[in-house]
Structures are given as C-alpha cells and as structure tokens.
Amino acid sequence: MSQRQVLQGVMSLLRPLLLDVVPTIQQTAALALGRLASYNEDLAEAVVKGDILPQLIYSLAEQNRFYKKAAAFVLRAVAKHSPALAHAVVDCGALDALVISLEEFDPDVKEAAAWALGYIARHNANLSQEVVDAGAVPLLVLCIQEPEVALKRIAASALSDIAKHSPELAQTVVDTGAIAHLAQMILNPDAKLKRQVFSALSQISKHSVDLAEMVVEAEIFPAVLACLRDPDEYVRKNVTTLMREITKHTPELSQMIVNTGGVAAVIDYLGDSHGNVRLPGIMMLGYVAAHSENLAMAVIVSKGVPQLAICLSEEPEEHIKAATAWAFGQIGRHTPEHARAVATANVLPSLLALYMDTDSSEDLQVKVGS
C-alpha cells in the first residue's frame, strides 16, 4: 500500500473516534491526529482533505478543556507546514473558534489557542490580517499579562509573528497597548520568554520611525543592556536585533542608544559571541556609523574598529564578512580622521585580499569595493 493510502486509512480510522461517546477517547484521538499532522506535511494535508477540521472546530466551542487543548493542537499542527494549509484551516472558520478559546479560563487552552494563531499568522501578511480581523490581538495582549510563563511566551511569539509582516499590522499590535506589557517582561528570569519578547519588540520597531520611537519611549534602555549578558545565546541575539532595528531609522535614535552606552555593550557582545549570532551586532554598528560622522566617531571611540577587525578575520561565513566590510565602509567614509582610524586597525589589507579573492561572492566584492 502506498503511503497515501496508508494515510487515508489512518484518517478514516481516527475520524469516527472523534465522535465517540467517551470524552477520553475523543481527546486521545484528537491528540493522535495532532501528533500525526505535526510530523509530516502529507499527513496534515490528509487531515485537511479528510474533512476533520470542521468537526474539530465545531466541538472546540462546546467540549471540555482537554478536548479544546487537543483540538487547538491539531489546528496548530496542520497550519504550521505551509501557507496553503494555514489558509485551509482559516477557511474552515477556525479563527473565531480559536479567539473564543482565547477567552477561556484555563491557561493551557489559551496557550494552545495562542500557539495555533501564532502559527497561522506566521506565513504571510494576508493570514496575519485575517487573524487580526478576527479580533485576536487584544486577547493576546491580555494573555501576556497572565501569570503563567508558558502562556506569556506563546502570546509574545504570536504577537511577534503578527507584527512582522507590515507596518499596519505592527500598528494594530501597538494600538492595543502591547508595548508596555512587553517592556515589563524584559527583566523576567525566564530565558525563552525574553527571547520572544525581544523578537516581538524588534519586529514592531523595524517598520517605521514612529513605531521605533514608541518602543523606545517604553523606557527599555538601559535595562535592555543588562540582558546582553544573559547566558542564553538567542536572548542576546534578539536584543542586538532589536537595537539594530531601532538604530537603523534616524540619527536621533542612534544617538540615544549611543548615549546610554549601547555601543560599548554591543561591542562586548561581539567579543563574546561566535558565528551567525554576530550578524545583527555588526549591522547595528554599521547603521549607527552610517548616520553621521559624530556617531561614527563614537563607534571608533568605543573601540569598535579592533573588534570588527577581529570579526572579519575570525568568521568564515561569507555574509558575515560582507556585513563587516560594509560596516567598515560606513565608519570610514565620513572624514580622513575616520579613514585613518580604520586604516590603523590593519583592516585594509584583509579587505583588499577579500576583494581580490576570486572565491568570495559577488555581494562580498561589491560591499568591499564600496
């Protein structure tokens, strides 16, 4: 029997179990469906084709909390694979049911519903818009204020997924007052929560100057710099991403970050980290230096040039080298003083070697040449 037939068989076996009298059997069947769907995209498609979703969604409104949790798990497992599947989930009317379960008391149900909404909104702007139109955002902001850490995590990640697609969506998230609550959670001891919070804030602030200014007005600096010494690597990376998104808009924002000592903290972070996670830090320094020669001099004074030289020599990856070369270009282009500072770090020979190297990519060569 081919795999597809096997799958059809499995679905046809599980579907009647969903309508069983005993609630435990229903819950377990839903859980099984969810696990199958989350493992493989074909299985998820089979779930969709087997017309199971409307049944699940109908019973989402009525059954007890364990069933709701399992049903939301199935929806999430189906929606996570591709935009088409997520669209199929939405077409069955899942959004209203999920938003209603966001109003439940049980935190596990809310967590599962928020997770499903997050996975739906992740794929593209249309789906995010549909999630927002279903009225999920105020409820997610309420979920963030709940005491359970897992729920906060998932709600923050859902908000981050919604806000990342377009400025209007980010504005919608901000209008419900999410920034204040996200800012309050910055100093929470849980590392995964901090990851999601910083990711959400950076997705909000990346779209426009006003949004970045609103994020900054929440007085997150200089508390954010303390999180740059978190033991978790991805927390640090997300903090630097947030700083990069803020600094790239205007010189005033960059100036504010420089005045709070953010540049020194990021340079130390570059020294401590290795690999791909250095990229947002390097880009942040480049953006800061690009705005004006005062800021470029500030980067130089904070001992950024030796650190960037170390990054250039240590990192094997092409795109990181390209980013470092671009950052050097931004620092050195303002006045001869800046160029001299860049030159004294013995960077130019290595840049020249990169330029001449036929192995390096087009992008790298263009960046080095500028």
Binding site: P231, A264, N294, M297, V301
Partner: protein, 364 residues
C-alpha cells in the same frame, strides 16, 4: 726860480733819464707787463676764488638749511606714515583677534563645536567604561546566583535522597554502606544520613477507588508534610458528621491548640509596681562599687575600724573545710551510717557487647 733853473738843468738829465727810463721800461715792459698781468690775474683769481668760496659757503649754508628743512619735512612725513602703519597694524592685530573670537564663537554656536564634541567623546568613553563595568558586575552576580541556586538544588536533592535511604544509616553494631570500617572516616553521605530526619511511614490507602480520577487540589507539592517523591496525599478519613450546630473537628482542634493571648492588663501582676521597684533597687545595689553612702559634711568615715584581709587573718595551713567536713553535715542524723560506696562489682550486661554475632561487630 731856483727850482726853475734847477729844473732847466735837469731837463737834459731828465730827458735822458726819461729816455733811459723809457727804454728800461720799454725793455722791462714785456716782463713787467707779464708780471703785472700775473699779479693781477693771481689777485683776480684770489678775489674770484674768495668770492666763489664765499658763495660756496653761503650756498652751502642755504642748501644745508634747505635740505634740513626738506629732510625734516620728509622725516615728519615718514614718521606720520610709520605711525599710521603702526596704528593700522595694531588695529589689524586687534581686529584679527576679534574676528578669531567671533568666528570661533559663531562656528561653535551655529555649525560645529569642537570642544563640545571632544568633551562628548570623553564623556562617552567614560560612560562606556562604566557600562562595561556595570555589565561585568551584573553578569558576575547572575552567575553567582545561578551557581548558588544550582548548589542549593543539589543539596536539596541529596537531602531527599538521604531521607529516602535513611535505612542505610550505620548502627553501633553494624556499620552502614557509607561507613566502611576500612575508611579513615565516614563518607559525606553517612553524615548526611545522620543529619536528616527519616520519612514518616506511609499508610496503605484504605480504598483504591479514591486514588483514581483526577488529582485533588492538595497536590503532591503541598508543603509542610514530608513525603516520598511521587507519593499521592492520603485520602481524608471518612466519618459521619454529627447532627447539630457543631464546628468541624479541624476548627475545634485549632481552637484547642491556640495559646493564651492575655491582654496587657491581665498580663501584669498586681504587685507589678512593687516588683519593678525592687528590681530597680536591686539593680542599683548590684551595680554599686562603693557600698558606703556618700554623706557630705559628716565625719562618718572617721569612725571606721580597720578590717583585716582574709588572707592575712587565716592561718597558713590546709583548711579542713571541703575535704574533711562540710557545712551541711549533721553527724547526729547519720547515726553511724557509712558514706556512699563509689566503686562496685561489675555487672555482666555488657560482657557480650561487640562479640555477639559476627566479626563486623568489632568496631575499631
């Protein structure tokens, strides 16, 4: 007439003399003429020369005066010009200074302030250093916190383990697993076992049915009751509730256990004031270093007789008090009884101690 005669006599001589003189003169005429010319020319020359020199002198004087005049005028002109130039230079200098200051001020105020920028960079460097220091301290602190938490958790786990394995404690008869007789000292687990209290014995649940179903709200994480890891709480003892307005047993027990909390009025005894006064008095008496009261204007100190010291007034011999007799001895009450025996014969209870069952009983 005499003169006329004389003259007529003389005419010939005169004529001859006239002719000789003329001839001499004629002969000397050239020479004399030339001499005269010479003399005249020389004289004229002297004249002219003196006139010329006179003229020269006068002309010199005039020229001198004139030159002086023009030179002074010129000099005055030069002085004026030099003064003017000096003034202008001075003005130029001063105006350069003013323009310097003004340009500096203008540029600093409106376009670019070098010193402000320099100060900003220095301030920025200081701030960076401080931020770096603060972040270092913070990460140090976090690291220590985490280590401390990890250590506490480890301690906790080990204590739980020790509680569960409390039966492995060594006894005098039989050394435990962690207290091997070949070790120089007991293991740290042995010490832990000695420190911790064992778990209370678990009751077998009365009915199985109460264990099924969802867990009750008093979950295994209920504090205050030591439990083995993963044990469920015991089900409540079922008893018939008595009819009537009775409180629950827990409440009654709590009320029984509640201690007395008398009010302050009840707490104070009736003789509290006198007691306080006595205390104060005895406190003062205790703290006195001088027993004799100070009595001014009295001669009480003169009436004191000298008390000898105990050291000097007792004899220098061993004192029988404490060894031979004591204060509290009433010899007549004893009626000839013997003093207590302090040494006895042995009892054989502990003969077999350490030699009973196995060689493991021989503890070093």
């Amino acid at each position: 007439m005499a003169s006329l005669v004389r003259l007529q006599n003389e005419i010939e001589r005169i004529k001859e003399e006239y002719f000789t003189r003329n001839r001499i003169a004629e002969e000397n005429r050239q020479r004399e003429n030339e001499a005269a010319i010479l003399i005249q020319s020389w004289f004229r020359g002297c004249q002219v020369r003196s006139y010329l020199s006179h003229l020269h002198r006068k002309a010199t004087i005039i020229q001198k005066i004139w030159r002086g005049f023009t030179a002074r005028a010129h000099f005055r002109q030069m002085v004026k010009a030099a003064y003017f130039i000096m003034k202008m230079n001075f003005y130029h200098e001063m105006s350069v200074r003013i323009q310097q200051r003004w340009r500096g001020y203008c540029v600093r105020k409106y376009s670019h302030n070098y010193y402000a920028r320099k100060r900003y960079m220095e301030g920025l460097a200081r701030k960076n250093k401080q931020i770096r220091r603060d972040l270092e301290e913070f990460s140090e602190f976090q690291r220590r916190e985490r280590e401390r938490m990890a250590m506490e958790r480890e301690e906790q786990e080990k204590n739980v383990q020790a509680q569960r394995m409390h039966f492995l404690l060594s006894t005098k008869q039989c050394p435990g697993v962690f207290n091997s007789p070949f070790r120089p000292g007991p293991d740290e687990m042995e010490l832990r076992l000695r420190r911790t209290k064992p778990l209370p014995p678990r009751n077998i649940p009365r009915d199985r049915a109460s264990l099924l179903g969802n867990t009750s709200p008093s979950s295994p994480s209920f504090p205050g009751v030591p439990r083995a890891f993963g044990a469920k709480p015991l089900p409540p003892i079922p008893s018939k509730k008595p009819q009537g307005p009775f409180r629950g047993p827990a409440e009654v027990w709590a009320q029984r256990q509640r201690g007395l909390e008398p009010s302050l009025r009840v707490q104070t005894s009736i003789s509290d004031l006198e007691q306080a006064q006595d205390q104060l008095r005895s406190g003062e008496w205790r703290n006195h270093t001088m027993e004799t009261m100070f009595q001014p204007f009295s001669k009480a100190h003169q009436n004191r007789s000298y008390e000898r010291m105990l050291h000097t007034s007792s004899s220098f011999q061993p004192v029988p008090y404490g060894t031979k007799h004591f204060r509290e001895e009433h010899q007549e009450n004893l009626q000839g009884k013997q003093p207590f025996k302090t040494v006895f014969t042995t009892c054989h209870v502990f003969d077999k101690f350490g030699r009973l069952y196995s060689n493991a009983g021989k503890i070093v």
